[in-house]
């Protein structure tokens, strides 16, 4: 597809797939896509598809928070999802993706880490949240956040025996999420703002801003792309993000 064509359409408030500028593609979430995971989910935004899984382990707390559990988020941009992803250690894109997901969850205090303490200074729950994109058609960030929240929300606590995990056996308890901080990614093309850029639009984005929103509050932001954006544009993007929060949240429920 011709990049100039995408830009010229957007200048007329139109998009290649006939969406409105502030319209998401269809979003679908499926729970429990992997049985050995404590929690797992698949999120599709249009043709973009991400699988997230939660595994729990027991480890030592960080010395500066001896009575708090730990979450570790990783993202693997495996080459299954796109012709441009390569094998090897996590790329800067994978690292950014993982950290953006992590910050949204952490900063909104979605998880009560104190409840994940087993024995102060010695043993706490460690939550491994791993993100695997399966098809990259743009906006992996929002899809990853939704998949992550759905996976965390459905995660079952494993059974403990003398403070050791019995893998494959679960208590009736779930990993509780106090909040559902969704992330809305906006793009700037020419002087227009769009939500949920697909991969064709990503290739012509001047700038990108991902905003993590929870109950109207903003908990994390990440700018991408090389062009600058004005304060007014950031303001307009925040307005859209706050407006879109409910819509995304209702999908996770």
């Amino acid at each position: 597809m011709n990049n100039d064509y995408i830009v010229s359409l957007i200048k007329e408030d139109k998009r290649v797939d006939e969406r409105k500028l502030d319209e998401y593609r269809e979003i679908k979430i499926t729970h429990d896509v992997s049985k050995n995971a404590e929690g797992s989910a698949r999120c599709k935004i249009g043709d973009t598809e991400v699988i997230a899984g939660v595994k729990m382990a027991i480890g030592a707390p960080y010395p500066d928070s001896p009575d708090e559990g730990v979450i570790i988020v990783t993202a693997e941009l495996t080459p299954i999802a796109s012709p441009v992803f390569e094998l090897g250690p996590p790329s800067e894109w994978a690292t950014e993706l993982a950290r953006v997901v992590d910050r949204g969850i952490r900063e909104s205090k979605a998880i009560d880490f104190k409840k994940l303490c087993i024995k102060e200074k010695e043993k706490v729950w460690m939550i491994f949240l791993d993100i695997y994109p399966m098809n990259d058609d743009g906006n992996l960030i929002d899809a990853s956040v939704l998949a992550a929240l759905a996976a965390l929300k459905s995660a079952r606590m494993p059974k403990l025996e003398e403070d050791n995990i019995v893998y494959g056996e679960f208590t009736n308890e779930k990993l509780k999420l106090n909040k559902l901080p969704v992330t809305i990614t906006l793009g700037k093309i020419s002087d227009k703002i769009i939500v949920d850029p697909d991969s064709k639009e990503e290739s012509v984005l001047n700038a990108r801003l991902s905003i993590s929103v929870c109950d109207g509050n903003i908990h994390a932001m990440q700018k991408g792309g090389s062009d600058g954006i004005t304060i007014e544009e950031v303001g307009a993007m925040m307005d859209i993000a706050i407006k879109k929060e409910k819509e995304l949240r209702s999908i996770i429920k």
């Binding site: 896509v33 992997s34 049985k35 050995n36 995971a37 404590e38 797992s40 043709d47 598809e49 699988i51 899984g53 939660v54 595994k55 382990a57 990783t74 693997e76 495996t78 080459p79 299954i80 999802a81 796109s82 012709p83 094998l87 250690p89 491994f128 791993d130 695997y132 399966m134 098809n135 990259d136 058609d137 893998y167 494959g168 991969s199």
Partner: protein, 230 residues
């Protein structure tokens, strides 16, 4: 062989299987193959330019495979990324498939196959190969034959097809992953861990061959399904 297995199957009975072609739009070819609780997803990219360039072959294209297990696919979390096991499986997967593809019209190019196991309950390399063969066909890569793979094994002196994790974990169980080509009935993957007599191995391979014939039909049906919908 009337003895029931832990999940109630007969000795020559595979777990419930499911195949779907065309699941990753961005890829040139893709497929999902599920056997019991094991789920493999495969994507094919290419033919495309091969990097690093010193690997390029002016005579023919190269088939490259990568097998990976998602960290959450197993009961105890697996550290993401490659390890010695996955490197070996990637290699045998490539060898299991390379004889059926003809890349002579793509000099200097590579066809990449990526396999991701998103849920594991034994038999993952075979599920990966079966999915990968479907993805290659879906990508339109010239193929002389189809490949199907299944594991057979011996538990307490008896031969069974498609061991699940509980069976695979039985002490002294012998595990034999096998791949067969569909038309020419040639074995393109054969590995073995355990202890087995020649007679038993004959029986096991025969069982694997019969099972792969069944898989071959399921693969063909999945490919037809995919084009029916287009």
């Amino acid at each position: 062989m009337t003895e029931k297995r832990v999940d109630g199957r007969k000795a020559d009975e595979m777990r419930d299987v499911e195949a779907k072609v065309g699941i990753i739009k961005r890829a040139d070819g893709s497929a999902m193959f599920r056997v019991g609780e094991t789920i493999a997803i495969a994507a094919v990219y290419g033919p495309r330019e091969l990097h690093p360039r010193y690997l390029q072959n002016p005579e023919t294209g190269l088939l490259r495979c990568n097998y990976d297990m998602a960290s959450f696919s197993v009961p105890e979390r697996k550290k993401p990324g490659p390890n010695r096991r996955s490197v070996e499986i990637s290699l045998v997967t490539q060898q299991a498939l390379s004889s059926v593809v003809d890349l002579s019209q793509f000099p200097n190019a590579v066809v990449d196959i990526f396999i991701e196991i998103i849920q594991a309950n034994a038999g993952t390399r075979c599920a990966g190969i079966t999915a990968a063969a479907l993805a290659l066909a879906h990508a339109g890569i010239p193929m002389k034959d189809m490949v199907s793979a299944i594991s057979v094994g011996k538990i307490n002196g008896k031969i069974y097809v498609d061991l699940n994790k509980d069976e695979e974990d039985v002490e002294d169980a012998t595990d034999i992953p096998v791949a067969f080509t569909g038309r020419t009935k040639k074995i393109t993957l054969l590995q073995l861990d355990g202890n087995i007599t020649k007679k038993e191995l004959d029986e096991a391979l025969k069982l694997a061959g019969e099972s792969c014939e069944k898989l071959n039909k399921i693969q063909e049906k999945a490919l037809r399904e995919c084009y029916k919908n287009e």
